[in-house]
Symmetry: C2
Subunit: 246 residues, 2 copies
């Protein structure tokens, strides 16, 4: 992991940009963190819009978490942002959007073609990044995953034993095979659902919540569309992470 | 309202028992409350098990609310506890239980016969009690309703403008006509759902949540049966009341 820049934000949070091989990423550290007082870590998941576009929302979550005493970190997804384009993924996305626009059914094959290669490629990258984050003396663990591309969160929860809790955003298309993986998840979950999410099938989200194998899981559903998550839902998610990381 | 006893609990909460005509009730007041610093009020709803049986759970909620600076109050439901028995209601309950035990379908008529007379009788009693509570100089408002017999909470939310927010427990049979009333509810709602509630139809609870007319509504669903509500769900409900009463 090569740090490429560091700056101190107004509220005393250190923001460091880095590259991990070809993958750019950002790490936010509360000023209280040190080698003698290492802090827990939240991995900030996000959709495939690129870190540049997602930066304001990610930084807001990072500052909120830093105030709770948590480091946060994120990496660019394959095929997004500044990373080399991924023509097969772009094609799968274009096919799916065209079907939606034409009012045609979105088939399982279309969802699989878009999501499964992304999960297969992104999850090992997140795991390599986690190795790097945990090698820093200021980061001690435990580790949680928070955010979007719910299928990436599901796979990570299944394969990565260092992740002890996950806050997932039920806001994307989920391949059927991921429902089977969801049954293998056993860590505590906090699932956010926007009740009128225009890009989301509510019943599928409820079915997925039902499928998770975790004994401790909470569904927090609120009114409004995809980007209309109320402040209170953010506070509830923060309380979840505090419960499981402190 | 005639006070019949008063005692100070360990943590400085004043518990007063009272009667309002033939209706017994309990009022809990934080020691900070005074005529010059009146406090908000939460009405504590509960199922038809009688105040005696419900006392431990109600007192726990009352102490938690007092720590937040809220008064709480509850009254006995008609036909419950020490109040005169209500043969028609007892019969309706027996009919419904017998059908459940025999594995026969619970008809709309059975649910209506049990719940609608209770709502019709209990809601004006709650309103009369609210008049009495608000006449006390230590109670200033605003007022919220919290808890069970969700149909009573729905009706109160529709007819009682002094109630500004409600935390409802999706844990009972709901007559179809209450879905229509739910559409008329506009106050902020926090709905608690136990995902595997043995006495509850999950899909009906989700449909009811969908029906509420409120622009601000949150569904908080957790694993476990009717009495398995986790501490974190209590905390989330407390945060909801703090948001709307302070």
């Amino acid at each position: 992991m090569q740090f490429t820049s560091e700056r101190r934000l107004d509220d005393g949070v250190f923001e460091r940009h880095f590259t991990l091989g070809e993958i750019p990423g950002i790490l936010w550290m509360p000023e209280t963190a040190s080698a003698s007082a290492p802090v827990p870590l939240i991995l900030l998941g996000h959709p495939t819009l690129g870190l540049g576009k997602m930066y304001p929302r990610l930084a807001a979550r990072a500052r909120h978490s830093a105030a709770e005493g948590f480091a946060t970190a994120t990496i660019e997804l394959p095929g997004s942002g500044e990373r080399p384009s991924w023509p097969a993924l772009d094609q799968a996305r274009a096919d799916l959007r065209q079907a939606m626009r034409a009012g045609e059914p979105v088939t399982d094959e279309m969802v699989d073609a878009l999501v499964l290669p992304l999960v297969d490629k992104a999850v090992p990258e997140w795991q390599a990044a986690l190795d790097a984050f945990l090698s820093l003396p200021e980061i001690g663990g435990p580790v949680a995953y928070s955010g979007g591309v719910i299928s990436i969160g599901i796979r990570l929860a299944v394969v990565e034993p260092r992740i002890v809790a996950a806050g997932l955003f039920a806001g994307s298309l989920v391949p059927r095979v991921m429902f089977e993986e969801a049954r293998q998840v056993t860590i505590p979950l906090h699932v956010l659902l926007q009740w009128d999410d225009e890009g989301n099938d509510r019943q599928a989200s409820l079915d997925l919540f039902d499928a998770f194998g975790s004994k401790e899981k909470t569904l927090n559903a609120n009114m409004g569309g995809h980007t209309g998550v109320p402040q209170s839902a953010g506070d509830a998610a923060a309380a979840f992470f505090t419960r499981h990381l402190k």
